[in-house]
């Protein structure tokens, strides 16, 4: 009889596939391995720069590093709620201080880089990049259709800097209805690189990445127009030994050289 056979196959398929999947995936690491793993929360502007640093770190030490990128404010909130990160690289200082005050960190951390923002326009955009955003001002005054992406000023330091810059240039009111808010600065960059917006105020480090450099052009925005982006990192309480090593590594010359290549100003320079 045909029915019972296909019914059995169905049962096997329904139960077997998930069971196999469950069995095949790696189980949570034991404590022995945990010491050789570092779980890092990093601000989105570090996406490409930090990947390079970590690749080198892995080669040198053999440790495993898991990085999650996002907005600094989001991470601060998650860490407050107990997210199991070992190391937090924020895009500013306030979030680190917040966590330190709550006793969630090993110490007050260290500045590892100073960030910069740029105006980035994808190829084919009606805008041209310039440090005073003249093209944007003109377009807004004409009433032309234009869309600009920035990171969310509420919890992304780069978004906050973008907002400050626009205010100081007297463009904030006019640009308000034209703003596309990215969840973090990398998402704002992605909106621009895909051509879905006409321009974006993003991190210098992201604009230097191949994926963006190939698809558009940018101009640095003056530091005087916004509060400095002093990027502070901190080890969290009960950080793993691998994370402690990474913390030190990030302040080493080889790591600093990589960060410099991505447009960061190093502390002490």
């Amino acid at each position: 009889m045909r029915a019972p056979v296909s019914r059995k196959l169905l049962a096997i398929a329904l139960l077997g596939v998930p069971a196999l999947a469950a069995a095949a995936t790696p189980v949570k690491t034991g404590t022995a391995e945990a010491s050789a793993t570092a779980l890092v929360a990093a601000a989105s502007d570090l996406r490409f720069a930090l990947d390079e640093v970590i690749a080198q770190f892995r080669r040198d030490t053999g440790a495993t590093v898991q990085v999650t990128y996002g907005s600094s404010g989001n991470f601060a909130r998650q860490i407050e709620q107990g997210a199991p990160f070992d190391l937090f690289l924020s895009a500013d200082e306030t979030y680190v201080e917040q966590l330190a005050q709550r006793g969630l960190t090993a110490d007050r951390g260290a500045i590892y880089a100073i960030g910069h923002i740029v105006i980035y326009v994808p190829t084919g955009s009606p805008l041209t990049p310039d440090p005073q955003l003249h093209a944007l001002a003109v377009r807004l005054a004409e009433g032309g259709l234009v869309r600009i992406a920035i990171a969310n000023p509420a919890h992304a330091p780069y978004g906050r800097a973008a907002g400050q810059t626009l205010r100081n240039l007297g463009l904030w009111e006019a640009v308000q209805p034209r703003l596309v808010i990215g969840e973090n600065v990398a998402q704002a960059a992605q909106f621009a690189s895909s051509g879905n917006v006409d321009g974006a105020i993003i991190a210098h480090s992201l604009a230097l990445a191949p994926a963006l450099r190939e698809r558009g052009s940018f101009a640095l925005l003056p530091e005087s127009l916004h509060e400095p982006l002093r990027q502070r990192m901190v080890l969290l309480s009960r950080a793993s030994p691998a994370a402690v090593r990474l913390y030190g590594y990030l302040q080493s010359p080889s790591a600093r050289a990589i960060l410099a290549r991505y447009g960061f100003t190093l502390p002490g320079n």
Binding site: P18, A21, P26, Q66, Y69, G70, Q81, G82, A83, S193
Partner: protein
């Protein structure tokens, strides 16, 4: 293709299935056959995750599972780590979010069983438990299959709630749906494309399977 994320998603789907199906079956049965006070309220509650925005669910789950909550505190004191941002939190979130997908198909299948069949089972000497095993379950099987397929497929695609409750910890809570989002943000289009395709294929297969099961139910009568 992020195999860890895919494996994590599959594991989440499997665990959700294993834990949710038995409970959902009992609930579906009570809703299908019972005439008890509060039945309407429970039915509405079961359907709630279908219409609530994922962020609303995520918000309330954070409140319920956070470190300050009784559940979160209990978990932390027992296991030494917080409940939020762990795989266990995802499982709990998944159980809540998938409740309607698991309960409703089974409830409909059970309610479709003609009332006098269950009476006939009694008059054949079958105890309520035996009647469930030998009459209700076989006749509701297509509905049970649909519930399982939908629950599994929906778990794979769950994004908003997972992100809020689990963060995106690689190997722990970074499911394949989140990995796709992340790949787009890191300009890794090939990875995003392959993972999106994988989920699309799974979704299509799931729909084909539920259709086939629904047709079987028809043919029976």
């Amino acid at each position: 293709m992020d195999w860890t994320a895919l494996g994590l998603s599959l594991r989440l789907g499997a665990v959700t299935l294993l834990l949710l199906m038995p409970f959902a079956f009992v609930l579906a049965r009570a809703l299908a056959f019972g005439r008890w006070r509060g039945r309407g309220v429970v039915q509405a509650l079961v359907a709630l995750p279908l219409i609530l925005p994922p962020t609303v669910l995520g918000y309330y789950l954070l409140v319920a599972l956070g470190r300050a909550s009784p559940l979160g505190a209990l978990f932390e004191s027992t296991f030494g780590r917080p409940l939020v941002f762990s795989f266990e939190a995802l499982v709990i979130a998944s159980l809540v979010v998938n409740l309607p997908f698991a309960v409703q198909p089974m409830q409909n299948a059970l309610a479709a069983i003609p009332g006098n069949l269950r009476d006939a089972a009694r008059c054949c000497g079958l105890s309520p438990a035996a009647a469930m095993r030998r009459v209700e379950l076989p006749l509701a099987l297509p509905g049970i299959g649909t519930a399982a397929v939908l629950t599994f497929a929906h778990t794979l695609g769950e994004f908003g709630v997972v992100l809020m409750v689990g963060g995106a910890i690689p190997g722990e809570t970074r499911t394949v749906a989140i990995a796709i989002y992340d790949s787009v943000q890191s300009f890794d289009e090939p990875a995003a494309a392959s993972m999106a395709l994988a989920l699309l294929v799974i979704a299509v297969l799931a729909l084909l399977l539920t259709n086939a099961l629904a047709r079987r139910a028809w043919r029976r009568d």
